[in-house]
C-alpha cells in the first residue's frame, strides 16, 4: 500500500466514523427537540405532548422555492397553534429532498427514525410518488400539501392531497376556458420533463377535444432549455393563437410573458395554480402580467381575515409574499388538527393508531382553510381533495375574481 492510498483510506475511514457518530448524535439530539438548531423544527419540546409531523421537500437546488414555501407555511400554522394553546400541539420537521425521489426516501427514513407520527408527504410530485409508497407500507398517515400527481394517492388508502390533482386542473382549465369563451385558438407551452406540467397538459388536451375547443398547437421546453421561449412564441403567433395555456410554475411563465412582450405579441395567457407567485417575484414588472388569467386555490390579496393575517405573518418573518405552496401547507396543518380533534387522538398514540384513526375521519371533515374559497375543503376516501378553484385575472398588479 503506498502512502497516498494509505492516507486516502484513513481519511475515508475517519470520515465514515465521524459520520456514524454524527448520525447517532442527531438521532438522540432531535428526540429532545434540540434539532431546532436546524431552524426547521418548532420550539415545542418533545415531551410527548406534541404530535411529530414530518415532511420532505426541496429546500436546496432548483426547486427550493417550493419546498421552502411549504416548510414556512406549515411552520407558521404550527406556531399559531402553539400560541393559541390547546390540547393538540405539533412539532414540525422538514427535511430536504432536492426534488429527487432517492433523496426523498432518505429524508423520509430520517424522519422515521426521528419518530414521525404523521407525514406531510413530499412537496413535489416525483418525490411524492416515492415517499407515498413508504407512507403506505409503514402505515404513517400522509397529507401532502402540493404533490399533485394522481400517482401519489392512487392505491394508497392513507395518502391524501391538499392540492388539486393535475388532471383535475387540466379538466377545470379547459372547462373554464370553454364556458367563459376565453379563446378561439388555443396554444399550449408545456414542460416535457416535468410530471406536473405533463399531467395537466394531457388532461387539458383530452377535455378540450371533448368540449370542441380548438387547440392549434403545442410546444415544449425542459429544465435545460428554460431560457429562450421565442421559438415557442413565434410558433404560437404563426398558428394564430389568441390564447396560450401555460401549465407550469411561475418562474418559466414570467420569462414567457417578458419575451412575448418583447416580441410585441399579445395573446391572452391562462395559467394554473403554479402560476400563483408570479406577482411576488422580486423585480417583476407586474404590467407584463396584466390580463393573465389563472385558476388558483389561493389568493394572497384576498380580503378575508385569515388570509390577511397569514400573509402579514409570512411577510414579516421571511420578507416575501406567500404563494399557494405556503398556503396549502398551512392548511394541511389545520386539517390535521381538525382531524385529530375529531378522531380524539393523543400524541402518545403510535403512528399506526393515528393513521387508522385519520383514514377513518378524513373523508368526513370539512376545513375552512385559506385555499377553500369559503366553501370549505373536503376529501373523498381515495385521498383526492374537493375544493373550488378560483378563476382569477390579474389587473393592476393584483388578482381580481373573474366571475
Amino acid at each position: 500500500m503506498n502512502s497516498k492510498k494509505f492516507l486516502a483510506f484513513t481519511m475515508a475511514a475517519a470520515m465514515t466514523l465521524s459520520l456514524a457518530a454524527c448520525g447517532g448524535d442527531s438521532g438522540s439530539a432531535s428526540s429532545t427537540g434540540d434539532a431546532s438548531g436546524a431552524g426547521s423544527t418548532s420550539t415545542v419540546e418533545s415531551t410527548g405532548s406534541a404530535f411529530k409531523i414530518g415532511g420532505t421537500g426541496p429546500l436546496t437546488g432548483t426547486a427550493a422555492i417550493y419546498g421552502l414555501a411549504a416548510q414556512r407555511g406549515a411552520q407558521i400554522a404550527v406556531d399559531e397553534i402553539q400560541e393559541a394553546g390547546g390540547d393538540i400541539q405539533f412539532e414540525l420537521n422538514y427535511q430536504d429532498d432536492q426534488n429527487v425521489p432517492e433523496t426523498a426516501v432518505n429524508a423520509y427514513n430520517n424522519l422515521k427514525s426521528w419518530g414521525m407520527q404523521i407525514s406531510l408527504g413530499s412537496v413535489t410530485s416525483q418525490p411524492g410518488i416515492a415517499t407515498s409508497v413508504y407512507n403506505n407500507e409503514d402505515r404513517i398517515f400522509a397529507l401532502t400539501p402540493s404533490a399533485s400527481s394522481p400517482d401519489v394517492i392512487e392505491g394508497k388508502d392513507n395518502v391524501f392531497q391538499m392540492c388539486f390533482s393535475d388532471p383535475n386542473q387540466g379538466l377545470a382549465s379547459a372547462q373554464y376556458i370553454s364556458e367563459q369563451g376565453l379563446g378561439e385558438n388555443i396554444y399550449i407551452i408545456w414542460k416535457n420533463d416535468d410530471v406536473y406540467s405533463t399531467g395537466i397538459k394531457d388532461q387539458f388536451v383530452a377535455e378540450a377535444e371533448e368540449l370542441g375547443l380548438n387547440v392549434v398547437g403545442d410546444s415544449t421546453f425542459t429544465d435545460d432549455t428554460a431560457n429562450d421561449f421565442t421559438v415557442q412564441l413565434t410558433d404560437a403567433q404563426q398558428k394564430g393563437a389568441d390564447l396560450i395555456f401555460l401549465p407550469m410554475y411561475y418562474t418559466p411563465a414570467s420569462l414567457i410573458l417578458t419575451q412575448a412582450d418583447a416580441m410585441g405579441y399579445e395573446p391572452a395567457f391562462f395559467g394554473v395554480d403554479g402560476m400563483d407567485g408570479i406577482l411576488t417575484m422580486d423585480g417583476f414588472d407586474a404590467s407584463l402580467a396584466e390580463g393573465v388569467m389563472l385558476l388558483t386555490p389561493f389568493n394572497a390579496d384576498a380580503e378575508d381575515e385569515a388570509t390577511q393575517a397569514f400573509v402579514a405573518e409570512y411577510e414579516s418573518r421571511y420578507g416575501e409574499t406567500p404563494n399557494q405552496f405556503a398556503a396549502d401547507a398551512y392548511d394541511c396543518i389545520y386539517a390535521l388538527k381538525l382531524a385529530l380533534e375529531t378522531a380524539g387522538c393523543t400524541p402518545d398514540m403510535s403512528a399506526e393508531e393515528i393513521n387508522d384513526a385519520l383514514v377513518e375521519v378524513f373523508p368526513t371533515i370539512t376545513l375552512t382553510g385559506l385555499t377553500g374559497d369559503g366553501e370549505g375543503i373536503t376529501w373523498d376516501s381515495t385521498g383526492a381533495v374537493s375544493k373550488a378553484p378560483k378563476g382569477m385575472v390579474i389587473q393592476d398588479g393584483a388578482y381580481v375574481g373573474m366571475d
Binding site: 432549455t225 421559438v231 415557442q232 404563426q238 414570467s254 422580486d282 414588472d285
Partner: protein
C-alpha cells in the same frame, strides 16, 4: 418559409450565441493557461447577475422616472459593481482552491472546481433565497424596428459587446506585454518561468479577466433572460463550455465562433425540428463536428511528441 421569420430566428440565435460566446471566452482563456476546466465559471455568472441586480435596484430609486439617467447610471454602475466583485471572487477562488493544486492532476482540479460550483450555488441560496429575482434589462425594454423585423436593444447590445470583447482580447493577447506573457505561459509554463515571467501572477490575471467577462456575460444573459435564481448559471455554463470545445478550446476566435454557432443551432433546432429534442440536436451537432475536426473548428491539433 417566411424569410422574415428566418431572419428573426437568426437574430435570436445570434443574441443567445453572443452570450454563450462571452462565457466561452472565459472558459477558453482559463483552459488555455491553466489547462483546467473551470466548472465554477457558470456560477460566477450567477453571482455577477445578483450583484448587478442589487446595485441596480438600489440605485434606480435615486433618479427621475423615465429619464435617461435613470436607465443608464444604474445599468453602468451595476455592471461595474458586478465586474469588480466577480474579479475579486475569481482571483480569491483561484488563490484558495486552485493554486494549491498547481502540481496536482487535472482531474483533481476539475473536482475542486465542481466543489466550488456547489459552494457558490448553495451560498447564493442562503444569501439571496430561492425566490427568483426578475432582472430589469440594462438597456430598458424596447426594440429597434428594422423593416418588418424588431430587434431588441438587449440583443443589439449583446452582439456589440461580444464583438468588442473579442477584438479587445485579441489585441490584448497579441499586443501587450502581459498578453504576450499569457500566451507564453499557456505555451510552456516552465520555459516562460525561465524567461522571467511571473507565472502565478499571469494565471491570477487570467482568472481576473475571465471572471470580469463572466460578470458582463451575467448582466447580458440576465437582460435577455431575466429570471435570476441560484442555479441560473449552471446550464449556460455547460453550454458555453460546449461552445468553447466546439470552436476549439484555447482559441479566442474559436470560442466566439463556437458560441455563435451553438446559439443559432439551438434556436433553429427548436424552431424547425423539435423543441423536445432541442438539446439532443445541439449536442449531436457537436459530436459530428468533433468527429470531423477532432480539435474543434478553429483548434490547433497538437502533434504528440514521442
Amino acid at each position: 418559409m417566411d424569410i422574415t421569420i428566418i431572419l428573426d430566428y437568426l437574430i435570436r440565435g445570434l443574441s443567445l450565441g453572443s452570450v454563450y460566446a462571452i462565457i466561452a471566452l472565459g472558459y477558453t482563456m482559463v483552459y488555455g493557461i491553466a489547462k483546467m476546466l473551470n466548472f465554477a465559471h457558470g456560477d460566477v455568472i450567477m453571482v455577477g447577475g445578483y450583484i448587478c441586480f442589487f446595485a441596480m435596484s438600489g440605485l434606480s430609486g435615486n433618479f427621475e422616472e423615465g429619464s435617461m439617467a435613470a436607465t443608464v447610471v444604474p445599468a453602468v454602475a451595476g455592471t461595474l459593481a458586478a465586474m469588480v466583485v466577480c474579479t475579486i471572487l475569481g482571483v480569491v477562488i483561484e488563490r484558495l482552491a486552485y493554486k494549491p493544486l498547481r502540481q496536482a492532476s487535472s482531474l483533481a482540479v476539475l473536482i475542486t472546481a465542481i466543489g466550488v460550483s456547489y459552494f457558490l450555488q448553495n451560498a447564493a441560496l442562503l444569501l439571496w433565497s430561492s425566490n427568483p429575482k426578475v432582472f430589469t434589462p440594462v438597456t430598458g425594454r424596447g426594440s429597434l424596428q428594422v423593416g418588418p423585423l424588431s430587434v431588441s436593444y438587449v440583443t443589439l447590445l449583446t452582439i456589440a459587446a461580444c464583438i468588442i470583447i473579442m477584438l479587445a482580447l485579441t489585441a490584448f493577447t497579441s499586443k501587450t506585454k502581459m498578453g504576450k506573457a499569457m500566451r507564453a505561459v499557456s505555451e510552456d509554463k516552465g520555459a516562460a518561468q525561465l524567461m522571467g515571467i511571473n507565472v502565478n501572477a499571469t494565471i491570477s490575471l487570467t482568472f481576473a479577466i475571465g471572471s470580469a467577462l463572466a460578470a458582463i456575460a451575467g448582466v447580458l444573459y440576465m437582460s435577455a433572460y431575466p429570471t435570476l435564481t441560484p442555479t441560473t448559471g449552471s446550464m449556460p455554463g455547460i453550454k458555453a463550455f460546449t461552445a468553447a470545445v466546439f470552436g476549439g478550446i484555447g482559441s479566442i476566435p474559436g470560442a466566439m465562433l463556437g458560441g455563435l454557432l451553438l446559439g443559432i443551432i439551438e434556436i433553429f433546432a427548436g424552431a424547425y425540428i423539435s423543441t423536445q429534442l432541442q438539446n439532443a440536436i445541439v449536442f449531436a451537432v457537436l459530436i459530428v463536428v468533433l468527429l470531423v475536426k477532432p480539435a474543434g473548428l478553429l483548434g490547433k491539433m497538437v502533434q504528440e511528441k514521442v
